[in-house]
Subunit: 369 residues, 2 copies
């Protein structure tokens, strides 16, 4: 193989696929980045069998071929190269790979390219198109609600679904649930898959375009792929039955509160300082008259209490929540004023931006005596 490519373009491709390079693995080949020539372009690939990423860039191909180079070294080297272009060529004699750019010259040992598990693109008719800014927002506003505990795999992923003309993403750890939907053009295929949250986070990080671009999502029974701008991300799906979120989202409430988001968030964060080291990070709320009293009590440290104004209609209510579940959603709400809807101190409540039905957060209270 012998190629010449733009340094910044190569750097972009290496950083893009880097996320899929395995770090701890009994298979050394997975620590490498596979580089191959294809139709007058160069394709970089990495996979750790959880996620596979391919990035295709333009290059001048002088001789076709395929090589595998240590991902760790390639990544650090490429971003530091002094020249504007980079030459990569195989030294047939000693099987090393010569990389030159400006005054710098590296001779790297190659990994056996025939051992690399080349990423196979999904062959399927299941296909929808979503704008990248919509996909990024869906992910950012829901995935934090996933479980981190691997014991129940279904809750470590987000449920992605389409209806006639919307796409929605739902995440839950059974104590809280985040639901977000966005309108999209009418799609002929109905999507309903559970995608690992780690993969969705990587997808969101790679969706960085300034002007909206189309992301093609394709899927089979057990895999999903996101394709945009020369980038192809392949992931396994999580199998199993996601809970029926429609049954989880309550509809009728006896106490409705609206409150300034910044004021509420700052007060919750302060009061939570003392509860944080406790087992459940519990803080109490008393919604009464035109005020919200927020309290915490940690026998080893002390007590905190804060009273802020809020607009409360319906029954007065005392209720306790895990403080982190409250601050997580507040940080993701764009609206200045938020709405909190509750029933009893033992039944789930809803937190939403006011006047926006596309984003709903359900939170289960903690039982207190």
């Amino acid at each position: 193989m012998k190629i010449i490519c733009d340094k910044n373009l190569l750097n972009f491709a290496v950083q893009t696929v880097q996320k899929a390079v395995a770090t701890k693995t009994p298979m050394p080949i997975l620590t490498g980045i596979y580089i191959t020539t294809k139709n007058n372009q160069v394709e970089l690939e990495a996979t750790d069998y959880e996620i596979g990423i391919t990035c295709t860039i333009d290059a001048q191909i002088i001789e076709n071929g395929s090589i595998v180079i240590s991902g760790k070294y390639l990544q650090e080297m490429v971003r530091r190269l002094p020249g504007e272009t980079v030459n990569i060529e195989t030294n047939q004699e000693d099987k090393t790979i010569l990389i030159t750019s400006g005054t710098a010259q590296f001779n790297l040992l190659s990994l056996p390219s025939e051992e690399f598990p080349v990423i196979q693109r999904l062959k399927t008719e299941n296909k929808i198109l979503v704008k990248d800014n919509i996909l990024r927002e869906l992910i950012k506003k829901t995935i934090f609600a996933c479980a981190t505990d691997e014991s129940r795999p279904i809750f470590t992923g987000g449920l992605m679904e389409t209806r006639a003309n919307d796409i929605r993403l739902i995440a839950t750890n059974t104590h809280r649930l985040a639901f977000k939907k966005n309108e999209i053009a009418l799609q002929s295929k109905k999507l309903q898959i559970i995608i690992p949250s780690k993969i969705l986070q990587e997808v969101a990080k790679l969706l960085t375009s300034d002007v909206p671009i189309d992301v093609e999502i394709t899927w089979t029974q057990n895999q999903v792929a996101f394709s945009f701008d020369g980038v192809y991300i392949l992931s396994r799906l999580i199998e199993g039955q996601f809970p029926d979120y429609n049954k989880v989202i309550p509809n009728d409430f006896s106490t409705e509160i609206t409150v300034d988001k910044q004021l509420f968030l700052a007060a919750v964060e302060r009061v939570a300082l003392l509860s944080r080291d406790g087992d459940y990070n519990i803080i109490k709320f008393l919604f009464k008259d035109e005020s919200i009293m927020i309290t915490s009590n940690n026998p080893e440290i002390g007590k905190a209490c804060e009273i802020i104004p809020g607009n409360i209609s319906g029954k007065e209510l005392e209720i306790a929540f895990n403080a982190k579940y409250i601050t997580d959603i507040l940080k993701n709400l764009d609206s200045d004023i938020i709405s909190i809807s509750l029933n009893t101190s033992l039944s789930p409540g809803c937190i939403k931006p006011i006047d926006d039905e596309t984003y709903i957060y359900v939170i289960t209270p903690v039982r207190i005596n």
Copy 2:
């Protein structure tokens, strides 16, 4: 005790003494910040017996007294308080401390203030004055050369010395030595002490004034104190005999090189990528004609080679160094062009800014075959 103080001032004082709050200690009292009223001001103190910091601020004293509060919670709480002023008062009944600011109210358990090892200021005639920007520069330009290995304590500190009208700081780990001096006004007392590098780093971080201020340094046989702007930092000294640095700095050289610092640093960092994981991080230099060839070789990864232009006078020379010892000094040199002075491949060399005799770095080569 009952005091009212400005929130930002209190926050400054808490963050300042925070560096001395013990985190891992069998003595719970050392995890606290001691707050006491004194001459119509409030003094905050923390100590872990390695370093002690006192910060004095103005406040309205309503009732004198002394308290100790958990440093960790006080620090996080104060910077988040909603009001512009903070009230702190002891609740005599239950021995808790009530902190109120705006809508927030905290009731913290207090630690027994009579157990706190109050910091005693040094009583001594040994005293010099140094501008804070000079002290900060001395520390920044030398302390990185200290040993991190605690087995030879003398090398974990910097030697601070005064001569007739200069102050100097010298640090070495026996493989490299950094020397920096600055002119100061004639001092009547001669200083010669070894200060732990960790303390010097904290001192440098706290010296953040925009306009130069005087720092008073006082010392006894086994302690040193830095005093400025209401802040008092007390540290133990390291005992022992520091090596005679004048004998370490070579004077005659057979090869003299001048080179562009950025060009040299970037090339060294690239070539060092491959040597970094080796035992000694060794890279080789060949100074010959008008060029510098920098190479590294890692049998498990590959080779790197870079040739950059340099101005070389005297004998050609091949020599090897620990790459980190080279990059450390290059990052601290302000000059665009640097000078490297060498003798043989086995004798120490010097790296300096050109035309500046106040900053000298000595580095011992690594033996190669």
